[in-house]
Subunit: 424 residues, 2 copies
């Protein structure tokens, strides 16, 4: 058994705040929402930050909601394609292949179905929900409309390498499942945690453009070009890269800010295959291997940090339980006439212990409020420490010397008694 | 504000247990220890699991202890080389380069000094402490002495690839700092968490063999050979690989169980350089890039899991604080004659609320013990929910309808009053 100090007992504010904000976002609801309830999802909340109706990416306007599953009560994200009419049942079945893709850098696809609940004919994609996500457009281009550009600040090269590694990892998982990403618009890649990005809206184009029946290898090769454009647009701070046909103008800007290795990597991505066989994600990964291992190491460091945070927090659950036990046992009206709890009774010492933990006073009889003292007492109680304490009754007539271990037995006995179905 | 269920409130048992065991190991002390106190470290506890005196790895018998730093109260690991006499001050200064190595796959080196506290002349290395670590010998070869071998079970190839990636990542960090690992014995690589390994005892040979002044490039090239032997010994389940000069006999065994790619990777490591310039850790990483990205992805998944665990736990800290507040406020002897707390007083409702949270009874007056109810009440109290509850006094003479928000204000007012230095 060991002693903890109150200050290393609670989590650093930054991480705590982040988690709180995410929890709040997750559970936030819109009181007077006009949004419908679907067959399997209720309590829809719009996630789109603008009402701009744009059909650029999918050919249909799309809207994003978070919603609660009727089946398991968990939160999911729904993407609705407005006005989509399904003509071929097989189109929507292509989504099931996406369910097998399990990558930390792809938003997991859960389901797809059509719905008339919105008053039109809509196509709905269900994916995992990542609270407080931002698209790369929102994250990197948010101030552009106001000032025309981000100013002098370009995105640091290590951030871009980290994006490259994560997207390459995503593409590896997607291509290995015999699929292609198809859509890598900066508005369809989301930042879900500090530095963590995930490909979003995968599988949508597979359904919507099902009839075109383009060969997989062609789509996979195109993924590299989309990938290159995505990185180029963030590096040059220019969204028009995505639709430009004169990419070399943008590539030439890279040399000002970035290393030749970075520039060459972007060029590799943008250069269509002479011999498609050698233009694979494995080949690309070999070329950027040292960056992959850097990302790996920083992820391991992230893991270590989370581990040490969780270590502090895990004690809290134990203490909360113990405090609830004490709250439940002490001062129960049913015990009022019970001789066990009277000054002569066995349980009386629990009351005195409670005073010892919570009702300390100083030599002048003034309250001393010290959470560190409480935490330390509760930890010793939980551990059943053999340390002795002296408990004095309020009238100072009774003095007991007990160990925490004695108290632990007493508390557990009283608690067990309360659990008995018909004890009195 | 949202409601939590008691069952997703506490952490899954497996992770909780692991963290508990580690905390216990960290804080465990030996009551009648004969071990000395050093200048900056006290409360030494031996970590070696055998008393076998072995000088094989370093040329001196070594002993491992955990100890508490006098400076910051944190736990560190000390490795003591028994009977070492420092002849050249510069030897020990070489350790400072190691402090700059910051890799998730290397045990961080903190300090080195000589000491006479053990009654001899000892050399002490201070490193980070990783509770409940096992060496790869302990983990993979523990049963060998009993049964002669592990039986039919060989280590699965994905585990070995994960080791290869982690060690390669460690070597990259070490070589980049113009150092060499030098010692990669299976007893000097430790498993610190599920699947996580770290190179241990780095820097020791730099001090002990300082006088040999071997060129760095030679030592770095040798690292690859040691790396290859380490992997080969685990894959073939045979520790004599480490000292063998006929490695091909062991390499030939690999084909039975492992892929050609794995075998070729081991051969690459074991084959001395024809042209040392191309035999670099970057080159090696390019060759195993797809495995690096697999490890990266599984580390990201690990991060996601820890995040969702910590999410559950973070609420506990809040609740524990709130419970301590309630415990501190209620039933204070000083309040006994206070009209605020009497049946007519303002604070009386806090007592009734306490009964509502902790002292529920069923229609027959039997105690109802429901932690879910308590957790939910406390969460609403913390959030200051506008939900109304009806509180009835014990004699059923008083009935109040209040919101959780009213209660939150009352509790905070009472708590604030207790904190005032001279309130009564
Ligand atoms: N899986 C998800 N989990 C949480 N939030 C998401 C998820 N997918 C998208 N979002 C958020 O929903 C919002 C809208 O996403 P959307 O893809 O529609 O972007 P957009 O900027 O509106 O692009 P478009 O103009 O194509 O609709 C963004 O803020 C995004 O971060
Ligand atoms: N940094 C550390 N943190 C926690 N435990 C450690 C650390 N370093 C070593 N240990 C543990 O201490 C024990 C002894 O380590 P040591 O390196 O002496 O291995 P060994 O098997 O005794 O080898 P040798 O025969 O060379 O002494 C092992 O169980 C190891 O896991
Ligand atoms: Mg949108
Ligand atoms: Mg040892």
């Amino acid at each position: 058994a060991y002693q903890k100090h109150a200050h290393d007992f609670f989590m650093p504010e930054a991480l705590r705040e982040e988690l709180h904000k995410k929890a709040e976002a997750t559970f936030q609801v819109m009181p007077n929402s006009q949004l419908p309830t679907l067959d399997s999802y209720h309590t829809l909340v719009a996630l789109d930050t603008s009402h701009r109706k744009s059909a650029t990416v999918f050919g249909y306007p799309s809207w994003v909601y978070k919603a609660t599953s009727i089946k398991n009560g968990s939160m999911y994200t729904l993407r609705r394609l407005e006005g989509y009419r399904l003509t071929n049942e097989r189109a929507i079945r292509s989504v099931k292949d996406w369910k097998r893709v399990n990558s930390g850098s792809v938003v997991s696809v859960v389901d797809a179905f059509t719905s008339r609940a919105f008053g039109d004919s809509s196509l709905i994609f269900v994916t995992n929900y990542h609270p407080l996500s931002k698209t790369l457009v929102e994250h990197h281009f948010a101030n552009i409309s106001k000032f025309g550009n981000r100013g002098v600040q370009s995105v640091p090269e290590p951030v871009l390498w980290s994006y490259i590694v994560q997207i390459a990892s995503a593409i590896k998982a997607v291509h290995a499942a015999n699929l292609a990403v198809r859509c890598m618009d900066p508005s369809k890649v989301i930042l879900t945690d500090k530095g963590r990005i995930r490909l979003n809206a995968c599988s949508v184009l597979d359904v919507v453009q099902f009839d075109a029946q383009r060969p997989l290898s062609e789509l996979q090769q195109e993924d590299f070009i989309h990938f290159g454009k995505l990185i180029l647009s963030i590096a040059t701070n220019n969204l028009s890269v995505m639709t430009s046909h004169t990419l070399m103008v943008f590539v030439d800007q890279l040399s000002r800010t970035y290393t030749p290795e970075f520039r060459d990597t972007v060029i590799w991505l943008l250069t269509p295959a002479q011999t498609p066989d050698t233009r694979t994600i494995s080949n690309f990964l070999s070329g950027i291997a040292t960056h992959v291992v850097d990302s790996f190491d920083s992820s391991l460091h992230g893991n270590d940090t989370l581990y040490s945070e969780i270590n502090r927090e895990v004690e809290n659950g134990r203490l909360a339980r113990l405090l609830m036990k004490l709250g439940t046992i002490n001062e129960r009206p049913e015990f009022d006439g019970d001789t066990m709890w009277s000054e002569q009774g066995e349980r009386y010492v629990i009351k005195m212990f409670r005073d010892y933990v919570f009702h300390q006073v100083n030599s002048e009889g003034k309250p001393v409020v010290d959470m560190g003292h409480m935490v330390s007492c509760l930890n010793k109680l939980d551990a059943g420490s053999m340390e002795r304490i002296t408990l004095t009754s309020r009238d100072e007539q009774n003095v007991f010397v007990v160990t925490y271990n004695d108290m632990k037995k007493q508390v557990n006995a009283a608690w067990a008694e309360l659990q008995k179905p018909a004890r009195r």
